[in-house]
Amino acid sequence: MYSTKLRSLSLATLLTLGGAFLLAAYYAPVEADQGFSQKIFYVHVPMAIVALGGFVWGGIQGLLFLRTRDPKHDLRSYVAIHMSVILGIGVLLTGGLWARAAWGVWFEWREATLVSFLIVFLLYCTYQPLRFSILDPEKQSRYAAVFAVTAGAFVPLNFMAVRLANPFIHPRVLNNTTGGALPVDMKIPFYLALVGMTLLFVTLYRLEMTHKLTRGRVKGLERRLERLQGERDEASIPARSAAPQVLA
C-alpha cells in the first residue's frame, strides 16, 4: 500500500519538477543583468521556501506530539526537520553559487535573507546533537518536540527581525523579481518549480517515514518473537539512535 502511493507521488514530482526546469530553461526569458546564471533562481528560491515551510511543519508536528504523545508525530517532526536541513544545505550551496556568479562572493553578509536563513539553518543543526545527547527515548522525543516547537516559532520571527535590522534589501535581482514584480513568463515556471519542490519534499518525507515505520515494525516483531521464545529483551538493547522508533 505504501509503495503504490509512493510511486505515483514520485512520478508527479518528476513530471512537475522536470517541466518546471524545462520551462525555466527554454520558456522563461534570460535575465538582462545576470544572463543564464539567473536560472538557478528556479531551484534556489523554491528550495528555500520549502525548507522553511518544512521547519514550521516540524514545529507543528512537535506540538501535536506534545499534546497526544503519539510517537508518529515525533517521527513526522523528526523527518520534516531532517529533510529541511538537507534542503537547507542545498539552499546554501545554490545560493552560494548564485552569489558567486552574480556578485563575485560566496556569501553576502549584508543580505538579510541570507543571514537569517543561515541562523535558522545553524539552529536546526543542533537538533540531531540534542537528540543524541538524551538517552531515554521518551525524554528524547519530548525534548526534541519542545525544541521543534520553539524553533518553528522562531523561523518567521527571525526573518522579520533580521530584515528590519538590515533595511536595505539588496538592490539587484531581488527588487525586480520579488512577488508581484515577477513577469508572467518567469512566474509560471517559478510557481511550477515551487509546486515541484514541495512535491519533492513530500516524496522524500514519505520515503523516510515508510522506511522508519517498516524498520520499527520489523524491530517490534523481532522483539515479540524473542519474548515468545522466552528470552528477556535485556540482552538486545538496540544500538543507540537519535531517530524516533515506532515499534509495532
Binding site: T126, I134, R142, F147, N158
Partner: protein, 240 residues
C-alpha cells in the same frame, strides 16, 4: 459519589503565587550561601570590557561599535549564567521535590525566569557603569540611562525566557554546557540585533538620537511570542 473511597482530605493545591514565592526565596538563599551565577556573569562582563579596552587600543568607542560590544558581552554573560541556573536543582533532586509538591509546574518557569531576570538586571547594574567608564566615549545623560533601561528590560525578558527554557532542556542532556549556547545563541540573535540597533543611537558620540521604535517593537513581539510559548511547553520538560 457512591463507591468513591473517602478521601481523608480534599485535594490540597498550593497557589502558584505562594509557590513562586517559596522558589524565589530558595534561589536567593542558595545564591547568597553559594554564589554560583552572579559573580561569574558580572566578572566575565567586566573582564571582557577590560580586554576590549586594551585590545582596541582606542580609549573609547561609541555608537554602533559600543552597542555591539555591550550586547555581545551581555549575551555571553547571560549564557554563562543560564548554564548554571539549574545545576543545583539537577544535582540535588530539587526538581523532583518540586514535582512532588501540589504546585503548578509552571511555577518553576516563573520563578527561574524571574530569578534569571533579576540576575541579569543585577549584572547590568555593574556591567553598564563599568562599560561606560572603561569604554564609552560620551558620558550617559539621565535620559539616556532611562532609554537604556527600557531596552535592557525588554531584552532581558527575552533572554531570561529563552535562557530558562533551554537551561532546563540542556541540563537533562549529557552535553549540557555545549547544547545550551548552541541552541540559545542563534535563538537570541534577533534580540541582540534589535537591542544593539536600538542602543546604538543612545551611545552615539554625536549626542543621543531617538530610539527607533521598530526595534523596540521587535523586542516586545519577541518577548510576547516566546513568553507565551515557554509558558505552553515548559511543563513537558519536567514531565516523567
Amino acid at each position: 459519589m457512591t463507591g468513591r473511597p473517602p478521601t481523608p482530605s480534599p485535594p490540597r493545591v498550593t497557589s502558584t503565587r505562594t509557590a513562586v514565592g517559596a522558589l524565589l526565596r530558595k534561589e536567593l538563599l542558595l545564591e547568597r550561601r553559594v554564589p554560583q551565577v552572579l559573580p561569574a556573569m558580572a566578572l566575565f562582563s567586566v573582564v571582557t570590557f577590560v580586554v576590549f579596552r586594551f585590545a582596541l587600543d582606542t580609549t573609547s568607542v561609541e555608537g554602533d561599535t559600543a552597542s555591539g560590544v555591550l550586547w555581545v558581552t551581555l549575551l555571553f554573560a547571560a549564557m554563562l549564567g543560564a548554564g548554571r541556573l539549574f545545576v543545583a536543582d539537577h544535582e540535588e533532586g530539587g526538581i523532583e521535590a518540586l514535582l512532588l509538591a501540589p504546585v503548578d509546574r509552571t511555577a518553576l518557569l516563573l520563578a527561574k525566569a524571574t530569578t534569571f531576570f533579576a540576575f541579569l538586571a543585577f549584572v547590568e547594574l555593574i556591567a553598564v557603569p563599568a562599560f561606560a567608564i572603561l569604554l564609552l566615549e560620551p558620558g550617559l545623560s539621565l535620559g539616556d540611562v532611562g532609554r537604556l533601561a527600557l531596552i535592557l528590560a525588554l531584552a532581558d525578558f527575552g533572554i531570561a525566557v529563552i535562557g530558562t527554557l533551554f537551561g532546563a532542556l540542556a541540563i537533562q542532556t549529557r552535553a549540557r554546557d555545549l547544547i545550551l549556547p548552541l541552541m540559545a545563541l542563534p535563538l537570541l540573535v534577533p534580540v541582540v540585533i534589535s537591542a544593539a540597533k536600538a542602543t546604538a543611537p543612545v551611545l552615539a558620540a554625536t549626542g543621543a538620537g531617538a530610539v527607533p521604535g521598530r526595534y523596540l517593537a521587535v523586542l516586545g513581539l519577541y518577548d510576547l511570542v516566546f513568553g507565551l510559548l515557554a509558558y505552553a511547553v515548559f511543563d513537558y520538560l519536567l514531565d516523567d
